[in-house]
């Protein structure tokens, strides 16, 4: 049985099922409110959800049972009396240390919890970074949307911000340095300085079995780093478009990655009305379309950056993605074939999958 936590424009939906058949909606929480992201911490079983009330602002909540009572987490706010307010929490990630979780949000902020998500503190190193004044928001805000932990090394993190690039720490977030060399932003002039930070990373993941390796979907470009984010090389040749948002990796194969290209930044739908996931099994040297079972005619879907996730590994490696038109698709064979897990949900913002 696989559980999908589906964050939507109108609440959190908990789906349960197995790939190849429709999933059942087993719970709905925060009805009517935008749920940006939800995660079940695999260590504790606790579910955390990021909810952005249009009236009362962004909050993090946690529950032992998503169908039961939720508690509001403490400390998810910027310093009082400043010039900025927290706009949204985009993503929640389990850390390497017991009880540690990270949450990334807008305006380009990282929060840490060391008690399983009940209380949080702002990461001051990133918040007070001297370049912050130059950071520019992307279309979705100044969102810190990707947090890549390093297996077995809790002090090493990579985070990605749209549009302030990749930031790396090796001291638990006390200090941060850029990790952008090799990225090419076609929306900047050729003469842009080498230390330009206005880099619109759309999604970033680390390969768990080879942590020096990371993959990135950029705002025009797909990249791979083999040196822990110090430098990046383009790997988009063979894709129908190098624009997109979602990215997923195979946890046991560091040469594998999956993207869902969209036509272009000016037309953010699946190309040619066909929904296809693209897979590489050779670290980006080549890409193969994986669309069997997905709509292949008049299907103009938008898949957001957090709406693609995987569960299981090896023979049980599953992939799931959702669209802003309310469909959720799943594959139980590493993307070779797909089926519809749910339809007619509200616009899907995020999916978090767990077997």
């Amino acid at each position: 049985m696989t559980e999908l936590l589906v964050g939507t424009k109108k609440g959190l939906f908990v789906l349960e099922g197995a790939p190849g058949a429709p999933f059942e909606v087993t719970a709905r929480a925060f009805a009517g409110e935008p749920v940006e992201y939800a995660l079940r911490d695999p260590r504790s079983g606790r579910v955390l959800a990021s909810v952005t009330s249009p009236f009362y602002g962004p909050k993090l909540w946690y529950a032992e049972d998503p169908a039961g009572d939720w508690e509001q987490a403490d400390g998810v706010a910027l310093p009082e009396g400043g010039a900025a307010a927290l706009e949204r929490i985009w993503v929640i990630v389990a850390g390497e240390s017991d009880g540690t979780l990270y949450a990334g949000g807008d305006p380009g902020v990282l929060f840490e919890s060391h008690d399983g998500g009940a209380s949080w503190a702002l990461n001051r190193g990133l918040w007070e970074h001297p370049t912050r004044e130059a950071w520019q928001p992307g279309g979705g805000g100044l969102c810190l949307h990707s947090i890549a932990t390093w297996p077995g090394e809790p002090d090493r993190l990579a985070v990605a911000i749209s549009a302030a690039g990749v930031w790396l720490t090796e001291d638990g977030g006390q200090t941060w340095r850029r990790g952008n060399e090799g990225l090419v932003a076609r929306y900047l002039p050729d003469e842009a300085p080498a230390d330009e930070v206005a880099l619109c990373v759309h999604r970033l993941h680390r390969a768990p079995t080879q942590p020096e390796r990371m993959f990135m979907q950029f705002h025009g470009g797909v990249y791979r780093s083999d040196d822990a984010g110090a430098t990046w090389a383009g790997i988009a040749d063979g894709l129908p478009s190098d624009f997109g948002f979602p990215l997923a990796l195979d946890p046991t194969d560091a040469d594998s990655a999956y993207v869902i290209p969209l036509t272009a930044d000016t037309d953010r739908v699946t190309p040619d009305g066909r929904v296809r996931v693209y897979e590489t099994r050779d670290a980006g040297a080549s890409w193969s379309a994986r669309g069997e079972g997905l709509p292949q005619q008049d299907a103009y879907l938008t898949v957001l950056r957090e709406a693609f996730d995987r569960a299981g590994e090896d023979a049980a490696f599953e992939l799931y993605f959702g669209s802003t038109s309310g469909d959720v698709f799943g594959s139980g064979d590493a993307g070779a074939t797909w089926s519809t897990a749910a339809t007619r949900l509200p616009p899907v913002y995020s999916i978090s999958a767990q077997r």
């Binding site: 249009p54 009236f55 009362y56 602002g57 909050k59 706010a77 009396g81 400043g82 307010a85």
Partner: protein, 86 residues
């Protein structure tokens, strides 16, 4: 002392009570005092900058007000979510 009326989730956060007597010479002062008296409400009406959230409306004796609107002892302040959505 001015009175503040809360509804919906705000009421539930404030001991599940609608009406609260709160000291303050302006709407902003009054809301900060309300947060001090009802810590669970912190961040729900005012953001970190001390501004009333964009889709929250505050009325003083039936008229729309802001952080700087003066309030007197007999005034009645109502806090309501705006008519917005999508």
């Amino acid at each position: 002392m001015p009175s503040v009326r809360l509804r919906g989730p705000l009421k539930r956060l404030a001991d599940d009570r609608s009406d609260h007597a709160v000291a303050g010479a302006t709407v902003g002062e009054l809301l900060r005092e309300l947060e001090r008296a009802q810590p669970a409400m912190a961040g729900w009406i005012l953001d970190e900058r001390g501004r009333i959230r964009r889709h929250i409306n505050v009325f003083v004796n039936g008229e729309r007000g802001g952080e700087d609107t003066a309030v007197d002892n007999d005034d009645r302040v109502e806090i309501l979510p705006a008519i917005s959505g999508g």
